[in-house]
């Protein structure tokens, strides 16, 4: 009984959430506009100065490997973590 109830409950929840999402999306800055708050001084700094400051033509690369390199270190750590997790899940270790 409870198992059949879960999908219906989830459906109701999701539909309610979608209604609120619509209200929120109507408020968001218009898609693709140059004057959006997302394209502010940070964006301008990256686009205008990335080449001089880092010497990389691809600005995305400049961001992930230079401006936000700490993030990339942690991202590599996520991969390492998942490898260790898979090891500890599937391997038994040594037998001796």
């Amino acid at each position: 009984m409870a198992k059949r109830l879960v999908p219906i409950l989830a459906m109701i929840l999701v539909i309610m959430a979608l209604y609120v999402f619509m209200l929120a999306v109507a408020e968001l800055p218009p898609y693709g506009n140059v004057d959006n708050p997302a394209h502010n001084y940070v964006y301008e700094h990256y686009v205008n100065n990335a080449l001089e400051e880092t010497g990389v033509l691809n600005i995305v690369t400049a961001i992930i490997l230079d401006y936000r390199s700490y993030d990339t270190l942690i991202e590599a750590t996520v991969l390492f973590t998942s490898i260790m997790a898979v090891l500890i899940t599937l391997k038994k270790g040594e037998q001796h």
Partner: protein, 132 residues
Amino acid sequence: MELTIGAKLLNNYPFLGSLIIFGIGCYTVLSNSNLLKKLLGINIMESSIFLFYVATGNIRGGVPPIVDLAQPEALYINPLPTGLMLTGIVVSISVTGFALALIIKLYRFYGTMDANEIFEIRNEGKNNGSSS
């Protein structure tokens, strides 16, 4: 220029679409008892959020953020969301790998990939007195 809500929604279609897919993915995770489908639901949710970010970074009439020295006046799109989502993709793959490892292990224990069946098998084990 005042727009109706419908026109605003239509204009913001990538955000709306990504949030609808987010909701569907959420429903997939919550309602399906198959472990693999739950995992796919998580993947769908994650990629929908990636779509949200990419749409945030896009500018109509812009070009990809690769500096073209021949065209100094080009309008580049926002490179930051793209960079963030490169990290996000790696994270999503890591989670997928770990979850698949867990699915294999659960399959070895129970011989099934269905959460309800696992639940039943475990309850039978409890009733028979053997600890699982």
